[in-house]
Symmetry: C2
Subunit: 162 residues, 2 copies
Amino acid sequence: MGKLQTNDIIVNIMIEFSKTIELFGLTTVEARLFAYLYLSEEDLTLDEMADALGKSKTSISTNIRSLAELNLVTRVWKKGVRKDLYQANSQLFKTFMTSFQRKWIDIARRQKISLEEINNHYKDKSSNELTLEEQTILTERLNEIIIFHAQIETLFKNMKPN
Amino acid sequence: MGKLQTNDIIVNIMIEFSKTIELFGLTTVEARLFAYLYLSEEDLTLDEMADALGKSKTSISTNIRSLAELNLVTRVWKKGVRKDLYQANSQLFKTFMTSFQRKWIDIARRQKISLEEINNHYKDKSSNELTLEEQTILTERLNEIIIFHAQIETLFKNMKPN
DNA sequence: AAGTTCGTGCAATTTAAACTGTACGTATAA
DNA sequence: TTATACGTACAGTTTAAATTGCACGAACTT
């Protein structure tokens, strides 16, 4: 058979599942790594994952760290085992949706504030080349964009991932 | 001044706003292009946008087409003007959120079906190397993933972008 | 009909991202 | 202490994506 030591079925599921995970903003490798770890019954070492995905150990080390920062995987301690062991966070929906939610709310809020600052400051500057009509339209658009961000924030705050 | 002919303020807003648009799955150039067009009071030609963003006409042509396919911009006809004119769809929230919603629902549903097929078929195959325990756990995980997709679908269907 | 202008397909190039091998610091084992 | 194993920083390489110049077909102008 091919290089992969894992069962074909697991590989199939991993590839399919990872497509969804990518939607949450993860790269292909990150997504597959999570999927593979999630499907595994046991905690896995870097070497095992590198071997299973056909990637270098360095690559796995980097990517697993990204996943850990997102709280999607956890390092696990096991007596007598020197190597680092990892496991996937098992509460799929809650884990993904809440971090997704938080990400959107944060960015929407930050951007809204940033745009409001621009809105407040630019009128002071007399050194811009816009006509009065252009300024009127620009202000209007800017307000619409600010509202847009507020709406995003509201929508995601009301989102209840139960 | 610099190369950009547009007012600094517009460039500022464009850059800030485009960061949010990127969240919806657009590339940086697509996002900036939309933002710039949205901020413009008038319909714009390819040349004007290429000039404003400092990109080649080919690049604008390609990217504006992507935006058009996403229904984010529209080609506009104006009597006596030979060049193609474009304008941004002005209903920000509705436009972005509904297409966002549809995208997630589609993918979640498709993936759920795909995983259910795997689930149905793999049991027939006797040619896999898994132990009975491994099979039990795999089935369990697979079901959780399928449920996960169903939950995503439900969540986005209940999402009301008004 | 002849000459312009426009948008875009395509190939070549540039730019950026992903990936890996080597080397080193730290920790464990002997 | 010495030796072995582990994880990761870093630089160099490979791979993929973005960008652009050129060229061609279609549409318009004179």
